[in-house]
């Protein structure tokens, strides 16, 4: 059998309407052979937890463009852990350099900035999933 298909939940949490990036990422991951469960805008932690459970997802991708990342991303990591879900959280979007280390310390697997290539995005997801296995 070929390599199991990766399933990734993509979401934007809370009030953040900038969804051009997440749509491009969805396409990038699809073209890298992954199954993207696209939740899109205005999602809650609970929606994401539900989706990861029911869809048996391998990773969560959060797109963040409204400077809420320091609050919402670590809370998403906690919510997943509290539900017994050991899946990596990958943050993409506008995150200042000085925030990255703290996000990683708080359990975010990878932070991808606007300069990330399609290849980097796909590889980061695969590596983050592999690191959990």
């Amino acid at each position: 059998m070929s390599e199991p298909q990766l399933r990734v939940v993509l979401a934007k949490l809370g009030f953040d309407g900038h969804d051009r990036g997440i749509k491009i990422v969805a396409r990038i991951l699809r073209d890298a052979g992954m199954e993207v469960i696209y939740l899109g805008l205005r999602q809650s932690y609970l929606n994401v937890v539900n989706a990861v459970e029911q869809e048996d997802a391998d990773a969560v991708g959060l797109s963040m463009h409204n400077a809420s990342h320091m609050t919402l991303a670590p809370k998403m990591v906690e919510a997943l852990a509290a539900a017994g879900l050991d899946v990596p959280v990958i943050v993409g979007g506008i995150v200042p350099d000085e925030d990255v280390t703290e996000l990683l310390e708080k359990g975010v697997a990878v932070v991808l900035g606007p300069g990330a290539s399609a290849e980097q995005v796909a590889i980061s997801v695969r590596d983050a999933v592999a690191a959990k296995a």
């Binding site: 969805a26 939740l39 017994g84």
Partner: protein, 333 residues
């Protein structure tokens, strides 16, 4: 939730047997159910054990297939249905099937987002990609439905795009098959061409707030008027109802559910539901047998390589049909 479940909550599912994951799922742990479905979907080693456990408990759910052209509003309608079911049937399940890219094998599964906010928290939604592999979907979907049924989900709604024989078949083997039509998708001739219509137990004309909706209804009605001349209505002995909906506003959703219930009650009363389920099981066994045979045929042909009959075909000394007969006669004759 039982103590057993609590103790294992948070435990890595990879360390548990398929049986243990099954009982966790029975205890209501959703990530365990999510994992069971993955096993079935991948047809991995655990799938058979899971299917055995599930089959013994299944057979209670009303299975509803919803199909129609892309963009006809299947997901939104399904969302409206589960929203409506919140009170009476809070434990509904939705299996939303979407196509995989034939080039990369990847897929964007975007149906969940149309349902989650309106569904009751107990609704289980699973997105499934067609995953290209031949006949794989036809094998996986009944398996997944069986697991959801065993867990007590009822009704179970399977939503597939009405293109491709497999997708159509899957929706067509439900207890109640709903075909969604919309205005602006071509005339009655197109509808007859699609091959979807013969399957329908119920027609929904969605986007009924748009111009042309009544024309679609009329075309469908005319087509159904002819069904007795083609013998199509003998399959069920029932004339499919036509319901008008506007999924975005929720208009008609209650009518749609009422028509689905009427159909369910009718086939329950006349015993057809049991026949449908029996033929569904038979079809599944048949698909499994076919999958094994197909693999053997592939092996056989690659064994033959370019010698003998296959070479003769290539050199134009033998017609393909003759070669096929020769090969089958020597092997199975």
């Amino acid at each position: 939730m039982s103590l057993h479940g609590k103790n294992q909550r948070g435990q890595n599912l990879r360390e548990l047997s398929a049986e243990a994951i099954f009982s966790l799922a029975l205890d209501g742990e959703l990530r365990a159910l999510g994992r069971l479905i993955t096993f079935i979907e991948r047809d991995s080693d655990e799938a058979e054990v899971i299917s055995e456990l599930a089959h013994a408990r299944a057979g209670n759910a009303h299975v509803i297939g919803i199909t129609g052209a892309p963009g006809s509003g299947k997901s939104t309608l399904t969302g409206q249905l589960v929203a409506l079911l919140n009170q009476k049937h809070p434990r509904a399940a939705v299996l939303a099937v979407d196509p995989s890219s034939p080039l990369t094998g990847g897929a964007i599964l975007g149906d969940r987002v149309r349902m989650e906010d309106v569904a009751s928290p107990e609704t289980f939604i699973r997105s499934m990609a067609t995953r290209g592999h031949q006949g794989g979907l036809a094998l996986a979907v009944p398996g997944v439905v069986r697991v959801l049924d065993a867990m007590g989900y009822n009704p179970i709604i399977i939503e597939t795009v009405g293109v491709g024989q497999v997708e159509v078949d899957i929706a067509g083997t439900a207890d109640t098959t709903v075909v969604v039509a919309t205005p602006g998708m071509g005339d009655a001739v197109q509808a007859n061409k699609a091959g979807l219509l013969e399957l329908a137990d119920l027609f929904v004309v969605n986007k009924a707030d748009r111009p042309g909706a009544n024309d679609v209804r009329r075309d469908l009605d005319h087509m159904l008027d002819l069904s007795h001349t083609t013998g199509q209505d003998q399959r069920t002995g029932m004339r499919p109802e036509i319901v008008m909906t506007a999924a975005l506003t929720g208009q008609g959703a209650a009518d749609m559910w009422a028509a689905i219930e009427r159909h369910r009650d009718a086939i329950t009363a006349n015993g057809q539901i049991d026949e449908r389920r029996a033929s569904r099981d038979l079809e599944e066994v048949r698909n499994r047998v076919m999958a094994v045979i197909e693999r053997r045929v592939d092996d056989l042909l690659s064994e033959h390589g370019t010698t003998g009959a296959l070479k003769a075909v290539r050199d134009r000394e033998m017609a393909p049909s003759v070669a096929a007969r020769e090969i089958t006669n020597t092997r199975f004759g």
